[in-house]
Amino acid sequence: MAQPIPSRRQFLTAVGNLASAGWIALNWPQIASAAEHADHAAHDTVAPPRHLTTLTTAEAAEIDAIANQIVPGGVTPGARDARVTYFIDNALGSFFAAQLPSFRKGLAEFQSAYAARQGGAGKAFSAAPEAEQTAWLKEVDKTPFFTAVRRLTVLGLIALPKYGGNHENLGWKLIGVEDNHYWEPPFGYYDRDYGGFEPYPGTKPYTA
């Protein structure tokens, strides 16, 4: 019969229950293994935002285009795949709301400068061919607005999915991070064959 997988809260309650410390010591590998396979998104009970609440559709399209140049898609996921724009929209409507006015002002300046470069044709940056987008971003990538979008893009790529980005953990997958609550050694390539700590001449390491 399949063992029920404990929830994150059950896991933490088990390991945190002072009265059950002995039981934990005895069952630790099983507890840890179960926790490792548990649904770690369970603690993110808030569903990630899946529609715009702060930016307009037109604004979001521009931000999405910029973000996807900062971390382009392709063989591996990019900012658009990770739905970074939902993160940015969510952030500017909540914990970074204080930045929204300057962000909007920066976006407007970005757009008007781009339009001026087009001879006032009014074409949106997001509608431009990729090469043209890249060329324009190279001209403005030192501006505070671009820096802000870049920061938000990286945050949206890697922050918990509940904030709107990092869709299906794509940001973590991109950087090689697995979402587990528990790890055991070896952790990486170099600690696999570690032979143990060799004492130095003249020292006598000792333990309790």
Partner: protein, 549 residues
Amino acid sequence: MDRKTFKTGETVDFIVVGSGSSGGIMARELARAGNSVVVMEQGPRMEAHEFEHDELKYRQLSGITNNPATNPQTFRRDADQKAERTAGRNPLTYARVVGGSSTHFNANFWRLHEIDFIEGSRFGSIEGASLVDWPITYAELEPYYTKVEWEVGVSGLAGASPFDPWRSKPYPMPPLPVKSSGVLFERGARKLGLHPFPAPMAINSVTYRDRPACAQCGLCGGFACEVMAKSSSVWTVIPEAEATGRCEVRPESYVFRIGMNKAGRATGVYYYDGDRKEQFQNARAVVVCANGAETPKLLLNSATNGFEQGLANSSGAVGRYLMFNKGGGAQARFEHPLNEYKGANVTRIMHDFYDSDPKRGFYGGGGFDARSGGPLTWGQSVPNGTPTWGPEFKEYLESYTYWMNCSGHGTSLAQATNRVDIDPELKDDWGVPAIRVTYRDHPDDVKHAKWQVERAVEIMDAAGAKQIVPGEIGEASGGVHLLGTCRMGNDPDTSVIDKYHRAHDVKNLFLCDGSSMVTSGRGQPTQTIEALAFRAADHIAKFARAGEI
């Protein structure tokens, strides 16, 4: 368990302000000695399951730290400048939650060495600095370092470092398992003839004192431990203090002034409760363990008749001699993945360069460690020459698991001009006058940090790194190690507290936290803060029994 509560009108034996590294120990020891104790904590009480693996919340926003939006501070380099609010984090950052900063510390538990207590007489005066001896020695503190290791819980390997000070007992737990950064750091340092060793950490490596071993989740610094393997006050001494039946921990209780009577004795504390309603708790004595920022702020905001310059401040030293622990290091990329996001943050350290060496041409010493950082913070910046966006930036992001840090942690010289005081205009959301920070690195601190960068580069090069990014040393504009601001000393004209942590000016007022430290140590002050708390509590309890408070 029903937790003991006291009425504000009751006169308890002790109020302990702050529930962090020192406050938790102080509360437990005083309560176990038979005293009634109320612990006042600014922040909320959170259970283990309420903490998350949320790097955005805890490292980028003010998840459990003092929030610049509600608890703002100002900063300036020199006293002739107007201090301004800074963008982003406050200059002085600490956790505002039951357990204080012990809740979110990395858990590096280094003892000070014998030299740390006597550098004033060893090196003499240094221009611009106040390098003086402590009024206590390593030998006086040693039993309490041991007490921290056994009563709070520290893992490590005694006797492994040829530079370790003497000790009366080994660690109660073996060291944590080494991770790839530790192996590479050890490899590089040994090649250079240095002596890296397993890091002493306040993290359980085995089940200890009814708490489980580390789950190796990888998120220590900045995060609370969800499995309670990290030896934070909230999981260790605070429940034990409450178990006496004589201690109440009162969360969301923001102490803003110490009450005084005409006889010059503390009568209790004024605080705002969770509804921001002003309250007063009566007490026979007050012990302030609020950290190196909040302790001087509270004293300076408690100015009253007879104490016009702030409470216990006849020396003028309250808030002065602020130290942060300056240091420098390097980031390095290797051929294969290290996966530093897994496992407790630090597994190897080194103390070969601990002592200051006059041959270097400047004062300063420190230790090094191999450590990791979370990806969200790491991804914010790129090495010089790496594009900040586009396909090459994406490639850089994809290399996250191949990187590690070799970090130096070192001395900051005490300077009277570096200080915490009260901003003349700014108030926080409670209407309490806010902290103003004035800070400029001593030139020797900067020289030492740059010297540490060079050593870190050498170690990473010897370890076989494919790419090394030397750290950039800028002027400090804040920190999380908040030290020296109510220094201890024998002379009431130059120090705030005596060697027993009693304020020179107020007989029933005691201070014990990072503010008590006379010199900065080498970068990891928490075990010393906790040892000081055990020692101070011993003496304070004796004074109480003898009717000498």
